[in-house]
Amino acid sequence: MREYWKKNLGYMVALLSVWAVVSYGCGIFFVEQLNAVRIAGFPLGFWFAQQGAIYFFVVLIFAYYVLMQRLDRAYDVHE
């Protein structure tokens, strides 16, 4: 069980790092640098802050769901 919990924490740290990078990194701290890059009509930093980060959030939650489904089965703690 110790191992199960460690792996769970590992997934969380990895996914929360992505969470922090897309929202705070790309959307706030480096928004000015990224705004120099353009994709279609969007300055990239602005896109992350008002669109991109939200898409990432949705993907992150579903990714955690899938990873934990597998982990629960591997350690036989699923319902």
Partner: protein, 591 residues
């Protein structure tokens, strides 16, 4: 048919649906009343959570706010969605496994302390009350704008509807009406958004139109966002897409507000308790994903609507004569949401940065030279002549896009759905805090099922009346206290729950010290800066963002005090072990 007739049809029709659902979902036991029997499918819980979460403010005001704030509006977009990642990864699965009825339940059991339970229930009631007052007001305002009934009558109608379905069906009734309310509000938001996107950029999806080129008009062929930047600078505003410029919030402030809103979201009791209603830990993880997906549909559309509405408004009004202004301008001038003061008497609407006059529009009798409504406000020195209430950006959208009357009626129904769904979730938190946490857990542990249920229903009634009272007599501080709700969510519940799950060593002394310290500091700062007029003295952080500092303080105190006091008892450490393992969540409801 007229807009008014359509609005009656839409509003009465949707209310009929909610009441029918409530009648079908009526409950007879406390498990049904507090957590919908714990059997709500993940998809339905996702929709219900989305409706629960998206309030009148998200539906009516947010796009308008962004449209005036440009990049800085991202604090709401990021802040009110990013918290779901924290919920899904850090809280929801474990709270579901713990499997009780309320948030104070977890705090009281995990920290084996009635004091901690009382502190938690006071926080839960306070946070929810501040929030619900605004919702009832929102119901009244939608009624008065679209159906021309008095605001107070609107509030009373809203109270009656909410009392009927929340009192009858408790969490079960609320859940299934919220599913219906989500469908109404998302359609009401998307239909005008798609239409206006096609009109301005030719893209069906507003998310693409946002970054697309303008079709038609004087700016044909240019990118929408480039045009907004250019128009903005011409009129003396800062660029729409640029960050941290003059007159905008600093990077540190944007960071703090965003984080406070995220953490506050994850700490709001009415959101957390939705995850007690699903059948398993797996379903809790999945429904958090669905919830954010359904929220993201609105939250990625809103900034696009903000940009379209801004372009449309400036393009059709700035420099136009009053006589040639589009008809929606005169329609909404009647409601006082938009006003024009012809300061230089040339009959042309001049739009620039800065307020046109002091305060909200106050009208004199009679019409001006051009037929405009005359104002009695004292003009400012700014060359700006146009007053625009931010709510108009969503409310007037269907007319700006020349959509048929039934769409305008649908927007009214959507605004009501957004306000009612959030209000009902909050009312249940207030009622369950008193009837379950206070009465059953602390006063009368022997109370029968029937008696608990009766008290729960009475408390819904009491909570509806209090909310209605604040809706009819809005205290001047309602807008300010929203900052307080998030600040308290962030500085009270979030750190305590996270540490309770992830750190076995956390004990009751730490938790009580942490909650009291975190809340105390946050409240002090907000009261100082919002009510006593002090400047934001801590690194210039706005009161909206101070919850982050309160949260850090709470974490530090809980950890520090726990380490210098004794370990929690062995059964608590075992409880934490059990909460971490998904198996057996179905049987965990042992009340």
């Amino acid at each position: 048919m007229s807009i008014q007739t359509w609005t009656y049809i839409m509003v009465i029709g949707t209310f009929g649906i909610y009441l029918t659902i409530a009648w079908m979902a009526r409950v007879k036991d406390t498990k049904g009343f507090y957590v919908a029997g714990g059997g709500v499918p993940a998809l339905a819980n996702g929709m219900a959570t989305a409706a629960d979460w998206m309030s009148a403010a998200s539906f009516i005001s947010m796009a308008g706010l962004i449209s005036f704030m440009g990049y800085t509006g991202s604090i709401y977009l990021l802040g009110w969605t990013g918290g779901y990642v924290l919920l899904a990864l850090l809280l929801a699965p474990y709270l579901r496994k713990f499997g009780k009825f309320t948030v104070p339940d977890f705090v009281g059991d995990r920290y084996y302390s009635s004091t901690a339970r009382v502190v938690a229930l006071v926080c839960a009631i306070f946070v929810s009350l501040t929030y619900v007052a605004g919702q009832m007001r929102g119901v009244g305002i939608v009624f008065s704008r679209f159906l021309e009934v008095d605001v107070n009558t609107g509030v009373l109608i809203g109270m009656a509807i909410v009392f009927f379905y929340a009192g009858l069906g408790g969490m079960k009734g609320i859940t299934w009406t919220q599913v219906a309310q989500y469908c109404v509000l998302i359609l009401a938001f998307l239909i005008p958004a798609v239409a206006i996107s096609m009109k301005i950029t030719g893209h069906v999806l507003p998310q693409f139109g946002f970054g697309g080129r303008i079709v038609g008009g004087p700016d044909s062929g240019a990118y929408l966002l480039d045009t907004l930047n250019r128009i903005g600078t011409d009129l003396g505003f800062s660029e729409y897409t640029s960050a941290f410029g003059a007159g905008q919030k600093s990077m540190l402030d944007v960071f703090c507000i965003t984080l406070a809103l995220m953490v506050g979201t994850a700490g709001l009791p009415h959101v957390i308790i939705r995850f007690y209603t699903v059948p398993s830990v797996r379903a809790a993880r999945l429904s958090a994903g669905y919830a954010l997906l359904f929220i993201a549909i609105l939250y990625t559309t809103a900034p696009a609507v903000a940009a379209f509405a801004r372009y449309n408004m400036v393009n059709s009004l700035s420099g136009a004569t009053y006589a040639s202004a589009p008809s929606w301008f005169r329609n909404w001038e009647k409601t006082g949401l938009i006003a024009w003061m012809d300061k230089n008497g040339d009959g042309v609407i001049q739009y620039h940065a800065g307020a046109p006059f002091q305060g909200k529009p106050a009208y004199a009798d009679g019409a001006g030279a051009m037929g405009q409504r005359m104002l009695t406000n004292a003009p400012t020195a700014s060359p700006n002549e146009l007053y625009v209430d931010r709510d108009i950006m969503v409310l007037a959208n269907p007319e700006i896009a020349d959509l048929p009357a039934w769409v305008i009626a649908l927007v009214a129904a959507g605004g009501l759905a957004a306000a009612l769904s959030t209000a009902s979730g909050l009312l249940l938190v207030i009622a369950s805090s008193i009837s379950h946490d206070l009465y059953y857990r602390l006063i009368n542990r022997q109370a029968s099922e029937k008696r608990q249920l009766l008290i729960g229903r009475i408390m819904i009634g009491v909570a509806v009346c209090i909310a209605g009272y604040f809706g009819i007599n809005p205290p001047g501080f309602v807008a300010q206290v929203v900052a307080l709700a998030f600040g308290l969510g962030a500085s009270s519940f979030f750190p305590i729950i996270v540490l309770g799950i992830f750190w076995k060593r956390a004990n009751k002394y730490g938790a009580i010290a942490g909650m009291v310290g975190g809340i105390g500091f946050t409240m002090l700062y907000i009261v100082q800066t919002k009510f006593l007029g002090a400047a934001p003295w801590l690194l210039g952080i706005s009161p909206e963002g101070i919850g982050v500092v309160g949260m850090c303080l709470n974490f530090a105190l809980t950890i520090g005090v726990s380490l210098v006091t004794e370990q929690p008892p062995v059964e608590i450490r075992e409880l934490v072990e059990r909460v971490r393992i998904p198996r057996g969540a179905g049987a965990a409801l042992d009340h």
